[in-house]
Symmetry: C2
Subunit: 295 residues, 2 copies
């Protein structure tokens, strides 16, 4: 892999996830903070109109608009679809991007702590996970590499390398200091990693570490009219990345009943009860544990 020279740090992809937006303001006032010798860092405020409206998005979720076919489809012309094309022009174009690496900053209402979502499992990403865990032991590494970067619809997939920094729990439209500090520390750890990777000066890293990989999303219980009839079970709430075994309660019904997890694998739920996922009636993501080995 060639060196990472041009990096974009993106905040406000969702207008009510405040940590990235306020960090961008800080970094834009003091550009020294993101500076590293071997790289050039650009900051991008992805969805200013949604921030102004204090909403996740105006017309549709911006972070689902970056497949090659959607970017090429000029009939997709609402606000976020238009922003996607502008951002692709600015940082991309996807497939032949002038940006080498994108760090996209997000918050979740789920108790995921400081999570680093990696979209590839090549040497660069596996070592990034190891490095971030070495300087932030409280961090969690999650792979969403089940499809290629080309197929991903995330903003961070415009470049050949991209990650999502996902920090919670934080309610929508709130700034928590602990969450802001985690996001700033993780962003700095990633930039430090790239600097060291470019210079071939990485410290010794563990040859193996534990991470998670995305498997599937599961829905909140509904009746046959599509009405919601239950909620995330209190035993699962806030227990992101804690194992769930077949037979464990997963939902409580409003009438008092319970639904248990019936999967055929030990699941590690995350994005548990994320507010933004109610739009699609999603209750949580399920993952598996993955042992990452560095060659």
């Amino acid at each position: 892999m060639s060196k990472i020279e041009q990096i974009a740090v993106v905040g406000g992809t969702h207008g009510n996830e405040f940590s990235g937006i306020y960090l961008l303001k800080k970094w834009q006032k003091n550009t020294q903070l993101l500076k590293r010798n071997s790289i050039n860092v650009e900051t991008v405020f992805a969805n200013p109109k949604a921030f102004e409206a204090n909403k996740r998005y105006i017309d549709c979720d911006l972070n689902r608009q970056f497949t090659l076919s959607d970017l090429a489809n000029n009939k997709l012309a609402n606000y976020e679809q238009s922003r996607a094309k502008v951002i692709n022009h600015q940082l991309g174009p996807k497939g032949n991007a002038k940006t080498d690496f994108i760090i996209d900053l997000h918050n979740t209402t789920s108790n995921m702590g400081p999570s680093l979502i990696l979209l590839k499992s090549d040497d660069f990403n596996k070592k990034m996970g190891a490095y971030v865990l070495s300087v932030m032991p409280e961090a969690v590494v999650v792979f969403e590499d089940q499809i290629s970067m080309h197929e991903h619809y995330f903003l961070a997939s415009i470049a050949d390398q991209g990650v999502i920094v996902e920090i919670g729990p934080q309610p929508q439209s709130v700034i928590r200091q602990d969450v802001l500090d985690w996001m700033e520390n993780m962003t700095n750890a990633i930039l430090d990693f790239v600097e060291l990777y470019n210079k071939d000066e990485l410290p010794d890293l563990p040859k193996q570490y534990e991470a998670y990989e995305y498997v599937e999303s599961i829905e909140l219980p509904q009746d046959n009219k599509g009405e919601r009839i239950g909620m995330v079970h209190k035993n699962v709430q806030d227990n992101d990345f804690k194992p769930l075994k077949a037979g464990d309660p997963i939902f409580t019904l409003f009438d008092g009943g319970e639904i248990t997890y019936q999967g055929d694998y030990e699941a590690y739920p995350h994005f548990i009860n994320e507010a933004a996922y109610y739009d699609n009636n999603l209750a949580m993501s399920l993952g598996k544990k993955r042992i990452v080995t560095i060659d």
Copy 2:
């Protein structure tokens, strides 16, 4: 005081506070759940359009529209101002209401636990606080009785007696089971209390208990252009109802500085970092401890 015969239980006054809305659905399906012998209970879904839009409100905060002068002002005609007049017609009219007692159900993003906000400090309210604490020791009682019911702009002030059930922490647009359970338990405790009060069958209650009273609201730090320059300090975040003394840090500035509390009284912050208060740039409410004595 005459008996409480007609009660309204109101949910969805704010459209993105889900606990009350989902409890109403449950109670409307099974009307036995709220039934008590000496009272008639009506349920009211106050702001259905805001719930549909998944927002606190469409045009303005419904729970600020219930002063006598605003209710009488026909020029105030936006959605929530119109809803206020309709609800006042249904449950009131304020000053001569057909409803004896209103229980208005709210959520907060702040770590307030199950809080009971009382708008009067007469015998009925003081005993209600004592009774609720006796059956829910984790509850907190807060008096917002600094002005009369007539002067209050809250929905619950339509009737001669009204309380706000305020449960958190819960992000906007989410249902947490722990928060839902607390709200259901507190509503049942209040209805049980009214039943016992009506029948003059209250159990022995402590003659004194600790509560809080609202004193003032304080703002997030801004520069002289009105731009936000800081956030709630991590030592204060989630510490609702924990004392704050002069000299304690209260805000962290984005540039790294700190602002300390400089008040002349031991303050008990609550509604700390409530998402909905950012509209008015409010950081939290400050209260004082109050010893409530029952004669």
